[in-house]
Amino acid sequence: MEYTKYTYMKILLGALLFLTVVISCDDRLEVDPTQSIDQNQALSTEKDVLVTLIGAYDGLQEEETYGGDYMVMSELYGNNDDLFFTGTFEGLSDIWNTETVPTNENARATWIDSYIAINITNNVLSALDKVTSSEETRDRVEGEALFIRSSMYFELVRFYAKTWDDGDNTSNPGVPLVLDPTRNITEADYKARNSVAEVYAQIVGDLERAESLLPEENGIYATKAAAAAILSRVKLMQGATGATPQQQAALADARDAADRAIEYGTNSLADDFQSLWFTYINEQGTSPSEYIFAMQVTTQDGINALNTYFGNTIEEIPGTSGRGDMNVTEDHIARYETGDVRKDFFVEVGGQFFTMKHLDTYGNIPVVRLGEMYLTRAEANFRLGTTVGADPVDDLNMIRERAGLDPLASIASVDVVVEERYLELAFEGSRLHDLKRTRRNSGGVVWNDPKLILPIPQREIDTNKQLTQNDAYL
């Protein structure tokens, strides 16, 4: 081939084409994601804030948090004799055996998911100024976010730190308080643990503000009664056995908060104990009015982790399932008096007994229900010798009579109230905390045994040098 003008033209054209292609393709490298949005645009409008609040409920509903693990861990820690854990999940098995290690997978997952929910609420709270449609809406949004955040902090502090008044609350390490949304990571994000006292103060303050801001009726979302109910739990924990004037004062607050939760009238006690359960199988997902606050499970969203572990497939009841990991012992069933409908609320599978509370695959998860408020008011009134709202024996009898039992004439000792509370709320998540609060042992383990406190997750200790580990795991 000769080098003609034509040849050079061809080369030149080729090179030009080449350059054009290269340059034009560089522009094509700017690609935006299709199903995520930049954090800088995410909270620009009121709608953005409202959907982020829903995201906070979604975070609250995770299996690792109020989806059930908080309740499951409490029951496993506190029921060494009444439950027989036959499951194979190491993390839960170790909790049941009080043999947790810092790498416990449940301790890790629950910590992470609680703080994820907290960060979402912090995002909501940071953008309240975008909620401009009405003051009422802004109050509701703030109240719900504070309710969610303080509920998570309360669960964290009672699982990962020493019990209130087990030593000095102002020096006992609690959990780190994070109150602002995270946008990037700086030195300030490597936080040390706040004291137990600081964490409780934050929780109480948030819940009190939430109760003042929230509406009485709010669908499936948090209400005044819900904030009061959680506050009554916090105060009951601080009130313990009422051994000191401060504890007495806290018991009074617990009593008053429970009384308010009852008096708002948002919720009512179910007539029939059985009707409290099977919310999906029998009620297509509607919670009974007695649920003050519950996690809503649908076929599309949310997992009932209590069902996962406590549940079992019962052929006669379509819609039931579960791993059948939690065998209820015959000793436990013997605790109920003859004639107690709750005694019959167990089902036998292969010679093993399972509670019927968590059989429904898509059952809603009660976080707190009105029955507990009567028992809280009764216990606080009884310990204080008061009758705010009602005589303690009347509150107790409401629960007993609903279970098909004869009313008591009087309460012989606080043990009667505590035992009734155990039987009524069995396997709903309050066991460990009630043992610690009332200074009772779990099986052979003393209430303030450091092993009954979850480890700060090893991944957290490794990542954040500011954190100190709990005593049992040093």
Binding site: D38, N40, I185, G350
Partner: protein, 1030 residues
């Protein structure tokens, strides 16, 4: 006298003329399959007289005299010299060139002769991977190339294979090599939405492959720049050859079985052990053995009696090996037709294959239909055009992931007294209307009968090219390719599977659609020129790739009956979603190969890559490389060495990158998937890092290529160092921020190693024997991760100074002979710096500190192939070995080899559990529901080294006398065995293992290594086949 002389002269002239007129003719073809070879040089030795064979492989050459030697030569084939003698026809069959020095190596945007190569490229011929009963070519590469570690991970069909070229070079980003088929980077990422990872390479028929080149060092790979840190695997498909149209038909069929079984307890042994375990706990608790809340009563009634339908009470010796229910005899059937031919101007290769494989695990099968047409056309003296098209349909009946109760092999956890079928219903145990809770766990067999789980994929791998000769030595080539992957996954779970799928109350259906459109264009100039002793071969070009993945999903439940399996019939559409993601790369590259005096060689290259995966601050990266080579045998001092026929020293240094991370890692993101109870919600999802950039790997390689004894023995030795820095690391952040990690460029790791390749022509006569051997050593070390703790699975960990993914756990110290307690070494530091080797039992477990107890990365890889032939018989034996790695059996061992901690059936070695004071054993006392030794510890770390007789093939080629009667060019029958023998100390099914449920992210795939979790073993496959060519 003069007349006489004239007469003699005339006579001589006549003789001479007669001699001159003598013409030798013949046909040249290949030894292997008798394919005619066009273009072979046929030269009279010592002269320049010669010719080339025509399109049919025929030649005709005038010769003078009888003392003539003909030399037949062709690139890539062994040169042959034959003394003609009195013959006038001489057919020649040429062997592939065993010296390999003259092989043409595909280098990416070009090719080079092996002896002039200055980088390190391992070439695996298509012959080495054809007709091996493995659906994907990556699995067939195992042991074939030095420095390439292939782990098939499990015996499930169509599942992902892990391939590491010169070690793992990343922690959080992908470590699989880049696969390029005919110039086009193809989609190889997992596309599975159900079960373990799948392998899109299954869509490529290995029999269509001409050659596979693995670009290992920086000089070879840097032309792929930011994509090349994990090595590049170039796959070139077969192209047509001019000549008679030849048709090759191949059929092979066979059976397969598991390579190994594990011994579990029978009913008698089981009841002995569980009662022993229960008694211990009851005694300790002070509970009488007959108390209804006692463990003993539970073991008898709640476990053994209940889970045997009461049969155990009367028939305590009746025993079932649940592996019988998990394994089946698999089958393998494969038929191929390949057509090859064309004219000088238009050549074609076409193939069609049907593959049907039944796995060794019940319910697992794979079938594939694939067709390919590759066409090359010379349109004019300056323009060539062509196209390739490969179409495939793959249909895979899949298994759930290893960590599923429905994984068939997990049924070994069921009790030996549990019958396979319910005596009442005659259905698999646990199938409603029988008691669904019988069977300690869900019986996987129910899913085989009452659930479907199918993946069906269509794949189109096509490209077109045009190549123009612009002027002397300068060509321009443009290529455009598409890789379309269209996949549907469908699962239907009938109500009978309820115990496994809690949402299958009235049936559960799931359907995923995946669509990946990946297209690519390469445009480059090539300039080749020689000026005297100086030669240059340069490439300048650009590449643009764009890939979009779309996925949609729908789930439905509440079906009218099990006859309705499509979601159209589901009363509740319980879930659904759609998603999309994409990435783009734009690159410019330049490479120059220089040659002087046929002994001094150099290659320089640079590539500039831009990627949509990185932020505007650091979107572009530059990847240079240089290499030099010196062919010492061309120098005077070595040129006549009788032993050393070839010696080349080469060295390279360069930089490559890795961008194999999720799309959009640089952005701070909110995601809208946080709905609650029917209301839409959003949440923060990712922390921003606008400075994020490539991970870079700097690699140095020095190597020696040699040939001895006229190149009958050739080989390569390489030493390399690969240092990866600015790792794309998922850096842990405090979870109190609401995030757990952020992708940052942090940390360094290195791989250092030695590779050795030897190819020897032991015998070359009628009896031929060739040996090829490769061996490689790699040492992986994490240099710096700034104190990050990165963990995966149970105890895989990334630690500074250690290989990626070491087992970091407490050291098991055996059993206390006094009381049967499991013991662990404390391994804590004493104040004086020494290590406390005292022991603790389970209650003191948390005082024991963790140590590096094993390494899942092998130290040494080796492959040895011996090929022998005599007459029509050929035999090839391929053995490979992987040494120095450990496996973790903790995932299943804590249930199945845990001295009856739970009810699960146990491996037989657990019968050695401690029973009497003073007893020396390594198995702690059986204590039901008490954790006596099932803690995380080195008890569950085992040697995973193995040597495997990977493939043996014995074939017979029928002689031409018979073939010509049948009008066949080739007739061959053969038999082969895959995985005939495995030598290992590993006590579970298969040492070549990694479970398939802990590998959702690239980081897990890099770190969660060597973990066995009831993972199915490799199959042993016996095949017979016939190959016909005409």
């Amino acid at each position: 006298m003069r007349r006489f002389l004239l007469t003699v002269f005339a006579l001589l002239m006549v003789l001479f003329a007669w001699a001159q007129q003598r013409t030798v003719t013949g046909k040249v073809s290949t030894v292997e399959d008798g394919t005619p070879l066009p273009g072979v040089n046929v030269v009279i030795k010592g002269s320049t007289n010669g010719t080339v064979t025509d399109a049919q492989g025929n030649y005709s050459l005038p010769v003078d005299g009888s003392n003539v030697t003909l030399v037949f030569s062709f690139i890539g084939l062994q040169t042959q010299e034959v003394t003609l003698g009195a013959r006038s026809t001489l057919d020649m069959q040429l062997n592939a060139d065993v010296t390999e020095l003259t092989e043409v190596i595909v280098t990416g945007y070009g090719s080079q002769i092996k002896q002039e190569l200055t980088g390190n490229i391992a070439r695996v011929s298509g012959k080495d991977v054809e007709n091996v009963p493995l659906a994907s070519v990556d699995a067939a590469l195992q042991g074939k190339a030095a420095g390439v570690y292939v782990n098939s991970q499990s015996g499930k069909l169509g599942q992902a294979v892990s391939v590491r070229v010169r070690g793992t070079s990343s922690i959080s980003a992908g470590s699989q090599p880049l696969y390029v088929v005919d110039g086009m980077p193809i989609t190889t990422d997992d596309q599975s939405n159900m079960g373990g990872q799948t392998n899109p390479l299954v869509d490529l028929n290995p029999n269509d492959i001409e050659s596979i080149e693995v670009l290992k060092d920086a000089s070879a790979a840097a032309i792929y720049g930011s994509r090349a840190a994990n090595g590049v695997i170039l796959i070139t498909t077969k192209r047509g050859k001019a000549g008679k149209t030849s048709v090759s038909v191949n059929y092979q069929t066979g059976i397969s079985e598991e390579t190994n079984r594990v011994d579990f307890l029978n009913s008698e042994q089981y009841s002995k052990l569980i009662l022993q375990a229960a008694k211990y706990v009851d005694d300790a608790d002070g509970v009488p053995l007959d108390d209804p809340d006692s463990y003993t009563v539970y073991a008898k009634e709640g476990v053994m009696s209940y889970h045997s339908f009461g049969d155990w009470d009367t028939n305590p010796k009746k025993s079932y090996d649940w592996q019988d229910q998990a394994f089946q005899k698999g089958s393998y059937n494969q038929g191929d037709i390949q057509i090859n031919g064309g004219s000088e101007n238009t050549k074609f290769f076409g193939s069609i294959q049907y593959l049907d494989q039944e796995g060794i695990i019940v319910g697992n099968s794979l079938s594939r239909v694939s067709g390919r047409l590759n066409l090359d056309h010379k349109a004019s003296d300056w323009l060539k055009i062509g196209f390739s098209m490969g179409l495939t349909r793959t249909y895979n009946e899949r298994l759930p992931d290893d960590n599923s109760f429905s994984n068939p092999l997990q049924s070994v956890a069921l009790l030996p007294m549990t019958p396979f079928t319910d005596p009442e219903t005659k259905l698999p145990t646990g199938t409603p209307p029988g008691d669904p809770n019988v069977g300690l766990y869900y019986n996987p067999r129910i899913s085989i009968d009452y659930a479907d789980f199918v993946q069906e994929g269509y794949r189109n791998l096509s490209n077109v090219y045009a190549e123009a000769g612009l002027f002397a030595g300068l060509t321009f080539r443009t290529e455009f390719g598409v890789d379309i992957l269209n996949q549907n996954e469908e699962g239907y779970y009938q109500t009978q599977t309820l115990r496994d799928n809690s949402s299958a109350v009235n049936g559960l259906g799931q359907n995923y659609g995946t669509f990946v459109a990946n297209y690519n264009t390469n445009n480059y100039f090539n300039y080749k020129k020689e000026w005297g002793k100086f030669g240059v071969d340069a490439v300048l070009g650009m590449q643009y790739q764009q890939s979009t993945s779309k996925e949609n999903f729908i789930q439905g439940q509440d079906f009218p009956s099990n006859s309705y399996k499509k979601i159209a019939s589901a009363a509740t559409k319980s879930d659904g979603s759609s998603s999309e993601t994409n990435f783009r790369f734009n690159s410019v590259f330049l490479r120059t190969n220089l040659k002087y005096n046929s002994r001094y060689l150099a290659t320089l290259s640079i590539r500039r890559d831009g990627s949509s995966r990185f932020g505007a601050n650091s979107r572009f990266g530059y990847f240079p490389a240089a290499s030099v080579g010196w062919i010492m045998t061309e120098e005077g001092f070595l040129s006549d060495n009788p032993t050393l026929s070839f010696l080349k020293l080469r060295a390279s240094y360069g930089r490559v990158g890795n961008a194999e991370i999720d799309n959009f890692p640089q952005l701070g993101l909110f995601i809208g998937d946080a709905g609650y109870a029917g209301a839409a919600g959003q949440r923060p999802d990712q922390l921003a890092n606008p400075d994020l950039k490539w991970e870079t790997t700097d690699q140095f390689d020095i190597g020696l290529d040699f040939g001895l004894f006229e190149n009958r023995l050739t080989g390569e030795i390489d030493y390399y160092e690969k240092l990866t820095s600015g790792l794309l690391l998922n850096v842990n952040v405090p979870a109190t921020t609401g995030f757990t990690s952020q992708t940052r460029n942090v940390g360094k790791l290195e791989n250092k190693g030695v590779e050795l390749v030897l190819n020897s022509n032991n015998f070359t006569g009628a009896f031929k024997w060739t040996t090829s051997f490769n061996m490689s050593f790699n040492k992986n070390k994490v240099v710096d991760i700034q104190g990050q703790v990165i963990e995966a699975s149970f105890f895989n960990r990334v630690m500074e100074g250690q290989p990626v993914g070491v087992y970091y756990t407490v050291e098991y110290a055996g059993v206390d002979p006094a009381n049967g307690d499991a013991l662990f070494y404390k391994n804590t530091k004493n104040p004086d710096g020494s290590i406390d080797r005292s022991t603790v039992n389970a209650s003191g477990y948390s005082q024991a500190s963790r140590i590096v107890a094993g390494n899942p990365n092998p130290d040494v890889l080796a492959g040895l192939t011996n090929t022998l032939s005599y007459g029509g018989i050929d035999l090839s034996i391929f053995v490979n070995g992987v040494f120095g790695q450990q496996n973790s059996t903790y995932g299943m061992g804590r249930y199945s080899s845990a001295n009856m901690r739970f009810e699960d059936n146990q491996t037989v070695d657990q019968l050695n559990a401690w029973t009497t004071p003073g007893q020396i054993t390594n198995i702690p006392q059986a204590r039901f529901y008490a954790n006596n030794g099932a803690q995380l510890s080195s008890r569950y770390v085992e040697d995973g080294s193995f040597v495997r007789v990977r493939n043996i093939t014995l074939g017979y080629n029928f002689p031409s006398s018979l073939r010509s009667k049948l009008k066949l060019d080739r007739l061959r029958i053969y038999g082969s065995v895959l995985n005939l023998l495995t030598f290992t100390d590993y006590k579970y099914w298969d040492p070549e293992v990694n479970n398939d449920f802990e590998n959702d992210t690239a980081q897990e795939r890099n770190i969660a290594l060597g973990n066995d979790f009831y993972t199915p073993p490799q199959p042993r496959t016996f095949l017979v086949g016939i190959n016909i060519g005409f």
